[in-house]
Amino acid sequence: MDTENDIIDIVAKQAKADRATLKRDTHLSELDLQSIDIIELIFAIEDKFDISVPYNANDLNSAGISFETIGNLVDAVERLTAEQHAQKAG
């Protein structure tokens, strides 16, 4: 899936991880990501998909979205893209 591949690309780049080792169920906490990296990751995702991600560094479950695994990120991005791009079109 495009979204999943794009997100894995972004995560691999930010975490300096081998892309081949990243899967949907990879936990972000297993990767070498500091809190600044998470913020930059979210920024890269917002830029790439032209969406607004309601991530608050003080709350790991911002607006009911979990950021624990790559799969969580993919699901969140797909949902946000559908919601926000539909709004723009409508």
């Binding site: 809190s35 608050n56 560094a57 003080n58």
Partner: protein
């Protein structure tokens, strides 16, 4: 070494435009956090802040002077007038050379910078106001204080992000204590409510969507504030000789650097600065009754600060009152240390402890007495005020009633 006392205080804050107003509101636990009104918020995710409302520059400044004054310089000039008037000092009679002016600012003339860049880049202006540079430079607010009051001694601005004002006051304290100067006009100022600035803060993902709840469970981050607090420091012997009213004595100043992360705090660094302050003040931990915390309302700061307080104070930590007045006046960045020391001075003077407002539920990781929601009547003799800044710069002041 001289002893150093505060003989004048002036404040322009989201809680009020003079010391009496601010003190009254601190006492009621009034939070000045609300919807942002000084700029349009369309397109911003963060629409709340603690602003200085209904501030009419024309009420304080003639047009010609106003042309030179960024909002942060307006705040600090008004505050300096109140402080210097209270001190009763005049600087034009020779005292000027023996007076230092040391002001803290995190970013300085952001409103001017923002407007000027907008004119150049967005509006395509071919020219901008000739006084743009002297208006936005981070030292401008300090310059205007020296100019208006005729102060001809050492003068400069101190910048260390959220610790700027504590550092400025600390350096001024050192200079009066050592006898380099007899008097110092010091404090901090900040005014950063611009569209672009808030976009920058949002990107850090630490802004609270609802309000600032330091130490509370489910706190969700910080809320920006603005304002200025200026104080007159004086050699105690000199102040007593002339019968000046003494508001408080500054008894110690401690500093440290985390040397760790550009945004995350360190309990080790914070503890180190608090210990340095206690040592400088020759205080035992049991002598401290109240700490005005850095308490930004982020998950990171409040937990780290709590740990640091436990480490330094041991068993006495549980007997301390610890509150964050950022819950009421927001995080005023380079002015925060000054606003918070001012609150602490008035608290000791008037016999109350300002509360931590907006407190809903205790967080198991933050287990101290945070004076939730209601101010407490108490005669505190010795208090400390913490500033722990981005970049890991820690500055702690101690005062005695």
């Amino acid at each position: 070494m001289n002893r150093v006392v505060i003989t004048g205080l002036g404040i322009v804050s989201p809680l009020g435009k003079n010391v009496a107003e601010v003190t009254a509101r601190l006492r009621t636990g009034h939070s000045a956090i609300g919807p942002i009104t000084t700029i349009p918020t369309d397109g911003l995710i963060t629409t709340i802040g603690a602003e200085v409302r209904d501030f009419d520059p024309a009420a304080y400044f003639a047009d010609k002077q106003l042309a030179l004054l960024d909002r942060c310089a307006q705040f600090s000039l008004v505050a300096s007038r109140e402080a210097i008037a209270q001190s009763g000092l005049s600087f034009r009679d020779g005292l000027g050379q023996r007076t230092a002016t040391i002001i803290g600012a995190g970013v300085g003339g952001m409103v001017t910078l923002d407007e000027s860049f907008h004119r150049v880049y967005a509006e395509g202006a071919k020219r901008i106001h000739p006084l743009t540079i002297p208006k936005f430079m981070i030292s401008a607010a300090m310059s205007h204080i020296t100019m208006e009051h005729g102060i001809t001694g050492p003068s400069f601005t101190v910048a260390s992000a959220c610790a700027s004002a504590n550092h400025a006051i600390g350096v001024a304290f050192h200079m009066v204590r050592s006898g380099s100067v007899d008097v110092a006009v010091t404090g901090g100022t900040e005014a950063v409510f611009t569209f672009g600035t808030i976009k920058g803060w949002e990107a850090l993902r630490v802004m609270a969507p609802d309000t600032c709840r330091p130490f509370s469970r489910n706190r969700s981050g910080m809320v920006l504030g603005e304002g200025a607090a200026i104080m007159v420091l004086e050699d105690r012997a000199r102040a007593q000789a002339r019968g000046a009213e003494i508001l408080a004595e500054i008894i110690g100043f401690g500093m440290s650097s985390d040397a760790m992360d550009i945004v995350l705090p360190s309990a080790t660094g914070a503890a180190s600065a608090m210990r340095a302050c206690l040592a400088d003040a020759r205080l035992t931990v049991e002598e401290v009754g109240y700490i005005n915390a850095h308490g930004t309302g982020t998950v990171a700061n409040d937990v780290t600060e709590t740990k640091a307080i436990h480490t330094v104070f041991g068993d006495h930590a549980r007997k301390l009152a610890v509150s964050s007045t950022k819950s009421m006046h927001g995080h005023a960045l380079g002015a925060s240390g000054a606003l918070e020391l001012a609150a602490t001075v008035m608290a000791l003077r008037d016999g109350f402890i300002p509360p931590t407002a907006n407190f809903i539920e205790a967080d198991p990781d933050c287990d101290l007495d945070y004076v939730p929601n209601e101010a407490r009547e108490a005669q505190i003799a010795v208090a400390m005020s913490n500033s722990f800044a981005f970049g890991g710069h820690n500055a702690v002041l101690a005062i005695r009633r």
